[in-house]
């Protein structure tokens, strides 16, 4: 296995790195590259949205009426505050106050859970109305012909985003576990920062999703 050694500041440095700062910079660079792949993956959905909205504007207009923009706005606020507390948790790890950082991480986790709960209500409300995706679509009196297309896009976008929120929550739990074990110090906290970057990306995607899906006119 790749051996790691402890350098003079007490940081664990893996064999292929000469020192801790090179290791941290590479780690962060790697996370940014991963975020690029996430952005490119979601780009497929955004392009599909843009193309179909320009071809069938009336479907999107009618479709968005079934969405409650208040729930969307609430979710946006929830995710923005979770981004704040995520950034603050890194701030406190830098300051060495691990306990406070732990609290902020817990709050971020809580916000993630809240987001999923709100999404759960939205989904059940729609499925109850028959607005289920694809050929399970039983909503009869849609004015436009292919209303199912709008909900196809809606479920794909929010579904994939939801999966990423859950993954983010699992990563935060993993970082909290390592924090409790005392693995992080003001000189070594790349993992917290990496998970933070991923969580901010999940928030970014929702920032774009909210106006596109909920505020169509």
């Amino acid at each position: 296995m790749s051996t790691a050694r402890i350098d003079e500041q007490g940081n664990k440095v893996y064999m292929q790195y000469t020192d801790a700062s090179q290791q941290d910079a590479t780690g962060k660079h790697g996370v940014w590259l991963f975020l690029v792949t996430e952005v490119m993956m979601f780009s497929g959905l955004f392009v599909a949205y843009a193309i179909f909205k320009s071809i069938y504007p009336e479907i999107f207009y009618e479709g968005h009426k079934f969405l409650d923009w208040r729930m969307g706005a609430l979710n946006t606020v929830v995710l923005l505050s979770s981004s704040l507390t995520m950034a603050l948790s890194i701030y406190y790890v830098q300051k060495g106050k691990n306990a406070v950082a732990m609290g902020h991480l817990a709050f971020t986790l809580l916000c993630g859970a809240a987001f999923m709960v709100i999404k759960y209500f939205e989904y059940t409300h729609k499925i109850h109305e028959g607005l289920t995706p694809g050929h399970f679509f039983t909503y009869a009196n849609g004015e436009t012909a292919n209303l199912a297309l709008y909900f196809g896009i809606y479920y794909c976008m929010t579904g994939l985003h939801g999966i990423h929120v859950l993954t983010g929550m699992a990563l935060i739990a993993w970082v909290m576990y390592r924090l409790k074990k005392g693995e992080f110090s003001p000189t070594q906290y790349t993992a917290v920062e990496g998970v933070g970057l991923f969580w901010h990306l999940v928030d970014l995607i929702w920032i774009y999703l909210f106006p596109l899906l909920y505020l169509v006119s």
Binding site: M1, S2, T3, Y14, M15, Q16, Y17, T18, Q22, A25, T26, H29, G30, L33, F34, V36, T37, E38, M40, M41, F42, S43, G44, L45, V47, A48, I51, F52, I55, Y56, I59, P133, G134, H135, F136, A145, N146, A148, L149, G152, I153, Y155, C156, L160
Partner: protein, 529 residues
């Protein structure tokens, strides 16, 4: 730095046992794991190719039915693309030599590197399990609405390809991080070997384009499972949109396949002409230029698929731009050989074979990029011949050349030169006999993916099938030459070819940590004075 280095120990005998291989984090061992899996998949894909050629020897149905032929054609395409030629050079030769060539002890994220190999193996496992769930007959492009309507196991196979996509993303991510952050002191970007430049440009494409394939395949699964209607005309979607999504990944993917091969050929030409490469910056930056422009040209696959005339003109024009850096590389290689001291060892033979076949592949590519000609030649055997000239004549020749060039360094043994040259003769001759007639078949209008054809095409198809047996013989001889090398165990010197890049300054096979002390680099990679 690291444990004391025991004399005679290297990365192969550093740890023993299968478990040490399956959980290794050493980039060299992961390269060997990829070598074995890619060669295994290549054998399967090759057998399917032989089966196709056998069926097409004569008109009418000889050995396999139309449905079975469609499955064999799809499997040949998918296995060769996803499991052989995309991971081929980057994950095998790239994994092994990129860290050594830039003076690093390992790639930036060893654990991700091992995960990338497991993604390939698990993805391949899922894809192969599709065979037992009804097989797959959509062609490697999965065009909708056929891939939605067919009753074969498309979802299982597509999920397999989805998982294999992560193998490519993780390799690309690793290479970009390693190239940026782990270079030895003194190794500036302009002192990196050209193989590293090629892998770097490939990594950019792998990271930027493969996620789009991931979302396209997910949408295809959602389309089949839920019928969301993105790509299904009857539900308001647009099949041509699927082609846009698919080719946005797949054209950069063909550059993932060829760019590493261009990198290997730069190394071989410089080493076997004992001359510093001509136009280093031109070749290095043309790799990056090809990687960048490759994202703007995908529409040349869709001239006759209902794409608008304006979009077709833009795509055709930009495709012509991609031809220029490729031509630059070829001319620079020939200029390198001017006033060199050339030795025709087997790697050099493969490099020259590459240049011969890749030039034909390149110029026929320009023909297909021309709109009026593509209307006639699209989806005919002209296209089949073009991409085989570029993929088999290009990347596979470069893989064989790379294996022979670095074999002494990887395993410490010399291979038998005569057998290697014999395999070259068979492959080169067999290749031309197989695929040049297909150019003519294409101009005469024989469509692609035909299980049966009209009698006018019979004679050229028969010739093409003869050629395919020579190619198979060539690769078998190549395999034998490698197996014999392991049996004879003839010790190889540290630098059999007198090359100047970093991997030839360490013992062969290299030690676990590559370098006892990280070297400081003060010259270019090809300082043949």
């Amino acid at each position: 730095m690291g444990h004391a280095h025991v004399e005679g120990s290297n990365y192969l005998n550093h740890e023993k046992g299968l478990w040490s291989w399956l959980t290794t984090l050493d980039h060299k061992r992961i390269g060997i794991l990829y070598f074995i899996s890619v060669m295994f998949f290549f054998l399967i894909g090759g057998l399917f190719a032989l089966l196709i050629r056998l069926e097409l020897m004569e008109p009418g149905q000889q050995y396999i039915s139309a449905d079975f032929y469609n499955q064999v054609m799809t499997l040949h395409g998918s296995i060769m693309v996803f499991m052989v030629i995309i991971p081929g050079i980057p994950a095998f030769l790239g994994n092994f030599f990129l860290p050594i060539m830039i003076g690093a002890k390992d790639v930036a994220f060893p654990k991700l590197n091992l995960l990338s190999w497991y993604c390939l193996i698990c993805g391949a496992g899922i894809a192969v399990s599709a065979l037992f769930a009804g097989g797959i007959d959509t062609g490697w492009t999965f065009y909708t609405p056929y891939s939605i309507k067919t009753s074969t196991a498309v979802i299982v196979f597509v999920l397999g390809a989805f998982v294999m996509g992560f193998s490519s993303i993780l390799t690309g991510l690793n290479f970009i991080a390693t190239t940026h952050k782990l270079r030895a002191p003194g190794m500036t970007m302009n002192r990196m070997p050209l193989f590293v430049w090629a892998l770097y440009s490939t990594a950019i494409i792998q990271v930027l384009a493969t996620p789009v394939l991931a979302i396209t395949l997910l949408l295809l699964v959602a389309e089949r499972a839920l019928g969301i209607g993105f790509f299904d005309a009857s539900l308001g979607g647009d099949p041509v949109l699927f082609q846009h999504f698919f080719w946005f990944y797949s054209h950069p993917a063909v550059y993932i396949m060829i760019l590493p091969a261009l990198g290997v050929i730069s190394e071989l030409i410089a080493a076997f002409s004992r001359k510093t490469i001509f136009g280093y910056t031109a070749i290095a930056y043309s790799s990056v230029a090809i990687a960048a422009v490759s994202f703007f040209v995908w529409g040349h696959h869709m001239f006759v698929s209902g794409q608008s005339e304006l979009a077709g003109a833009i795509f055709s024009g930009i495709t012509m731009l991609v031809g220029v850096p490729t031509a630059i590389k070829l001319f620079n290689w020939v200029a390198t050989m001017y006033k060199g001291s050339i030795r025709l060892d087997s790697p050099m033979l493969y490099a020259i074979g590459f240049m011969f076949l890749f030039t034909i592949g390149g110029v026929t590519g320009v023909m297909l990029a021309t709109m009026a000609i593509d209307v006639h030649l699209h989806d005919t055997y002209f296209v089949v011949a073009h991409f085989h000239y570029v993929m088999v004549g290009g990347t596979l020749m470069a893989i064989m050349g790379g294996i022979y060039y670095w074999f002494p360094k990887m395993f410490g043994y010399m291979y038998s030169e005569t057998l290697a040259r014999l395999s070259w003769v068979f492959i080169f001759m067999g290749f031309n006999i197989t695929f040049f007639p297909q150019f003519i078949l294409g101009t005469q209008g024989m469509p692609r993916r035909y299980h049966d054809y009209i009698p006018e095409y019979a004679w050229l198809n028969k010739v093409s099938t003869f050629g395919s047996w020579f190619i198979f013989a060539g690769f078998v001889i190549g395999l034998i030459s490698i197996i014999l090398a392991f049996r004879k165990k003839e010790k190889a010197p540290m630098n059999p070819w007198g090359a100047k890049t970093l991997e030839w300054t360490i013992q062969s096979p290299p030690i676990h940590d590559n370098f006892e002390k990280i070297p400081t680099v003060n010259g270019g990679p090809y300082e043949y004075r």
